[in-house]
Symmetry: C2
Subunit: 299 residues, 2 copies
């Protein structure tokens, strides 16, 4: 068992922006610290929820350096590094590994659609060769509702066979429990680390042999998710998971990132948390109030 | 009438790569020269066909400088500059305008799906403000089959109203003639420059009030397209357009970029033309032969 790799509750951490839409480094790092204190086992910086694709490569490397030099342990970070362009993905992956991060989360190149598994295989193979660092560990990022380009079982089979110990896991944000279950059944026995990208599937994934979850929801209630993780083999796990699902269902009625930022703005009493880069926009005040009312003040 | 803006046959020029998958600058510029000699009125560098999203920002700026300092007139170039990340789009747009290009072709940010027109409007508005150059001219790039994020009529209305003389045209790669026709009917009378992204619609677009076409097909047979453009008001235009459509229908049975590169490799007797960055892959030899046989040797 590789103890350097994170398990449990991973938060795809949101990025704070200033009013001028630049990364607010201090506020983002304070959020990271809160997430780790609240029980996140690790943080996925630069995921979908982080608005990573709305950032330039330089913004990403420079912010990561800021976070690490301001007290965030790089061993707790799995940066997203997959871009449409291979050179960008290489730069970001090399940089993250060089900083001491245990692995990277990689989107497939997502501009061209209906691409072949052969083309995606070559993309990852080329990346691994160009990074050329034995420390590289890759988590594949399957999120077809957004990227439209997915990671097939055949591709995972081929990548794990050709690059054992390098391609070591996946975040499954298909939102489809049956897909996650099949992934776990097929690949977890070989040591492949499967994380559903949805808190709705946290308990079932742990029971089936998954490693935890990487869920946007962990930005707002990581302690509750950590409690499910700690108690998953106990009877009370069911009712904890039910509360996770209740809150998750409410949040998912709204555009996800604006909803998370509205909740953070409310709980931090800091309206600047609602800044986001276009094409995303903040919730209207009516929708924000509806969301907060539905979630309840008992949070 | 703004005579600095291109009309007629624009080629979204393909990019040549070396065996190591780096941009082959010399071979690409030689292709640009051939395209201009064969009758292209201008070149869209860094479009979908150019594998632009598979290139880093630095590769794009550095290649553009190479092309201009190696004899390509920047007034003949409309570089694609739209990226998921606003800072990247700003850097590329500033750079292109600074080099003397008459305009830029802008994809909307394409990672997040189902985004609002408000979010897209803010993206373009923010870009125009950040570029801060009176010379900026934007052609919107509507290509929902690939980007999945499109440009609605309402968005065009708002952008052309708020930024008259800046947002001046569109490449419509919907592939849907009815959509192109409606765009022309609604916006061309106000001076908006509409280019279908499909050679199949060249003649109908010219007759309706479009400005020409920006078609991948112009990489392989620009002279034929130019002949349609020159003669569109004459009786022989019909039969010329029919030949365009015949060749276009054959090429479109195959994955577009691999097909174009296979045709270039064959006509230049240079197999290196089939190099492309993953996730794209070259046609199998069987499919390549099928394509070339179907197109006929009479080209």
């Amino acid at each position: 068992m590789d103890t350097t790799q994170p398990s449990g509750i991973l938060s795809p951490a949101v990025t704070a922006f200033t009013g001028q839409l630049e990364i607010d480094e201090g506020r983002t790092v304070a959020h990271f610290q809160w997430l780790l204190q609240q029980g996140c086992d690790a943080l996925v910086v630069f995921g979908t929820t982080s608005e990573a694709n709305s950032l330039s490569v330089t913004e990403r490397t420079s912010f990561l350096e800021y976070a690490v030099s301001n007290g965030i342990d790089p061993r707790k970070l799995l940066p997203g590094t997959g871009c449409c362009s291979l050179p960008d993905s290489v730069v970001l992956s090399k940089h993250a590994i060089g900083l001491g991060c245990p692995g990277v989360l990689m989107l497939p190149p997502f501009y061209y659609k209906a691409v072949s598994d052969e083309g995606l295989f070559r993309y990852f193979a080329n990346l691994i060769e160009r990074v050329g660092d034995d420390r590289l560990r890759i988590y594949l990022y399957h999120i077809p509702p957004v990227s439209q380009v997915g990671i097939s079982f055949e591709l995972i089979e081929r990548l794990t066979t050709e690059f054992p110990g390098v391609v070591i896991g996946i975040k499954d944000s298909s939102g489809d429990w049956e897909h996650t279950r099949q992934l776990i059944d097929r690949f977890a026995p070989g040591g492949f680390r499967v994380f559903p990208g949805n808190e709705m599937h946290l308990l079932p994934a742990l029971r089936a042999g998954g490693k935890g979850c990487i869920s946007a929801f962990a930005n707002i209630n990581p302690a509750l998710l950590q409690e499910v993780f700690q108690k998953w083999q106990k009877p009370e796990a069911e009712s904890l998971q039910e509360e996770v699902e209740r809150q998750g269902r409410v949040a998912r009625k709204y555009p996800l990132i604006p909803a998370l930022k509205a909740i953070l703005a409310e709980s931090r009493k800091d309206p600047e948390w609602e800044n986001m880069r276009p094409p995303l926009v903040a919730l209207s005040s009516a929708r924000r109030e509806g969301l907060l009312a539905e979630l309840g003040t008992g949070r």
